[in-house]
Symmetry: C2
Subunit: 195 residues, 2 copies
Amino acid sequence: MAPTSETLTAERILEATEEVLRRHGPAKATVVDVARALGVSHGSVYRHFRTKAALREAVTKRWLDRTSGELSGIAAADRDPEARLRDWLTALFAAKRRKAGDDPELFATYTVLTGENGTAVSEHIADLTAQLTRVIQAGAETGSFTAADPEATARAVFQATARFHDPGYAQEWRQEGVEADFEAVVDLLVRGLRA
Amino acid sequence: MAPTSETLTAERILEATEEVLRRHGPAKATVVDVARALGVSHGSVYRHFRTKAALREAVTKRWLDRTSGELSGIAAADRDPEARLRDWLTALFAAKRRKAGDDPELFATYTVLTGENGTAVSEHIADLTAQLTRVIQAGAETGSFTAADPEATARAVFQATARFHDPGYAQEWRQEGVEADFEAVVDLLVRGLRA
């Protein structure tokens, strides 16, 4: 048996799927395309992902998880909650801008995929809001923030900063003045949290 | 000469254009279509709008101006700035939701038109931000709000509430809990302004 099929993990399949998406766009990335790229039978891929939809959902989730993974350390750090909040929002904006700016074609492809995979997107938003809740909770405990309901407040902060992380605004992220706009929104929110 | 052509104002042409858009969608609404709907020669329409692009831009501007027109009275009223700000944001959200919900097909048509007419949209945002600046300026003068730069603060408030007026979020406006989300964002921003 060839070593390729022995070492065929879900992660390797997802890496190959992303590579197929990068080369061929969202219309491709079927199980057959991915199996071909890996030089394995499509049966081997099906053992990990039973349908094309499952494969596409998993690769979308992996793409979104990369961002939440990057941010989780900031949310969990044992530091001043206000600094943590500012750093977290800055890192979220930076991560989304990087994804949109560094590889616009792959970003466009994932925009199609996120449109198809509402559950993966909702889970991603829930992950990020949970991280934000943790920071706001910490601020409420130390008395830096006033937040009777940290979860609702986290949701409000997330929604109020949508312009700086919702991929629908990716075009605006290249415009002059966007950093100043971001700072002004974050300052206003932090003042609201402190009050 | 028929009275129709004697009384052919730009406003009447734009009304007819909106009616053509309502019936036939964004692909239609050429000068010829509109002239036919009015029972006049296309030359008469061209005297008011020299190109199809000018006609489509004007009808888009008229649609957007209806919202800013509704809101200008709230911004200009001689009342407590905080109440004015809350009412203004509530009225903006209500106006956008009404447009999206009452006539979804016309809304979709105008979404195509606003995509084509970036200048009309920028002017609309500038109009609304100027109204908001006026309210925040009033709050800064009475001491209810802290805002060193009322224009920058107005821009931040407008951007932070995008979820509740940007047509890109129209799908979310029908979801349960959207009013509570709106209140949470507005409360946080008002707290920030007061601080």
